[in-house]
């Protein structure tokens, strides 16, 4: 498989995130922006690995693990879901012809669904 231009993609997604929500720059500054690029590089690396292994489970488990860490810092799953949706938009818009795009978008959709299900389970436990 042709390797994804991971650095380029991570920068593009981060730019859109910061354009969509200008308060991010005020809240987290340039250091936060650099971390966001780094995080997105990890998202793309895990997507690529899942594709090479032809197994979306690897990406879903990564997403759930990462969400567990983010939740310790008071972040909700919405942030990660929004990030994955922006990756999905970028793949659909600019990488339509790329051989892996369909699979990668399926992995993203499965991960989003698992994140939503796990949030629901956590909320039910909280109510119970």
């Amino acid at each position: 498989m042709k390797k994804l231009p991971i650095e380029e993609l991570a920068i593009s997604v981060t730019e859109v995130m910061y354009e969509n929500d200008p308060t991010l720059m005020d809240r987290y500054g340039d250091k936060g922006r650099r971390k966001c690029i780094e995080d997105n590089e990890h998202h793309f690396k895990h997507l690529q690995t899942a594709y090479e292994l032809q197994n979306g489970q690897f990406f879903t488990e990564y997403a759930l693990w990462l969400n567990g860490i983010l939740s310790k810092y008071g972040m909700t799953e919405e942030l990660l879901i929004e990030n994955f949706k922006l990756i999905d938009d970028l793949l659909e818009r600019e990488y339509k012809e790329y051989e892996a795009t369909n699979d990668l978008r399926n992995y993203l959709a499965s991960a989003v669904q698992s994140l939503q299900e796990s949030a629901l389970t956590a909320a039910e436990k909280g109510r119970g």
């Binding site: 690995t49 292994l53 690897f58």
Partner: protein, 216 residues
């Protein structure tokens, strides 16, 4: 996790080699190497991994702990004096890019204690160099270690190429991922997948026993 492992992890993180050595030597008095590895070192390093995953320690802490653990292993288990019976040969290596070598270092010791001559390559050995050494040295076993998902796509290539060498070595796959996922799709039916250090320790014991039985 037992109290000793937790304490050991604390000394690794502090960089306190003397205290780490004290705990390990105390435990070593009435335990086998396999027991020291499986009930002391492995839980301690897994715990450090968890602390890192949960952002409770940073990369510098984790690297210090790894360096101290490595030094302690080298001091407590120095060069093994091999007996006259050494006829079996094993190569032990981490896949390209893989930096997590401590488990493999412990497994190398177990091979040595079971009368194997070994070549232990530590972290990150690209396939072409593994192949050229294996062609020349002809080990009957090649043990591969993989701990990070990013490196898993290379596993199949390593297994297929090494298993197809003319002298047909047995390939053993281990490392953190072997205990976490089903790695069979990335191996052949001949590959041995070992989930943890106890499994491989027991396999080495059985192998040794089989040899003795055959010799009678």
């Amino acid at each position: 996790m037992n109290q000793n492992s937790r304490e050991l992890a604390g000394f690794f993180l502090e960089g306190n080699i003397d205290e780490a050595l004290r705990i390990v030597r105390e435990c070593q008095r009435d335990s086998t190497s396999l027991e020291v590895f499986s009930s002391l070192f492995t839980p301690a390093m897994n715990y450090i991994g968890e602390l890192w995953e949960n952002s409770e320690i940073n990369v510098a802490d984790e690297h210090l702990a790894t360096a101290v653990c490595d030094m302690v292993l080298s001091q407590v288990f120095p060069g093994y004096v091999k007996g006259e019976k050494v006829t079996k040969k094993a190569m032990l290596l981490c896949l390209e890019g893989e930096q997590h070598y401590l488990g493999l270092k412990m497994i190398n010791r177990l091979f040595e204690e079971n009368d194997w001559a070994t070549k232990y390559f530590g972290s990150n050995l690209p396939l072409e160099y593994a192949v050229s050494t294996a062609v020349e040295w002809k080990p009957s076993v090649i043990a591969l270690s993989v701990s990070i998902v990013y490196h898993l796509p290379k596993l199949k290539e390593y297994v297929m190429e090494l298993e197809s060498l003319p002298h047909k070595p047995l390939i053993i796959v281990g490392g953190r991922l072997a205990g976490k996922y089903d790695l069979r799709p990335y191996c052949s039916e001949n590959t041995l997948i070992m989930n943890d250090i106890t499994t491989i320790g027991n396999w080495l014991g059985q192998y040794q026993l089989g040899e003795k039985v055959n010799a009678i």
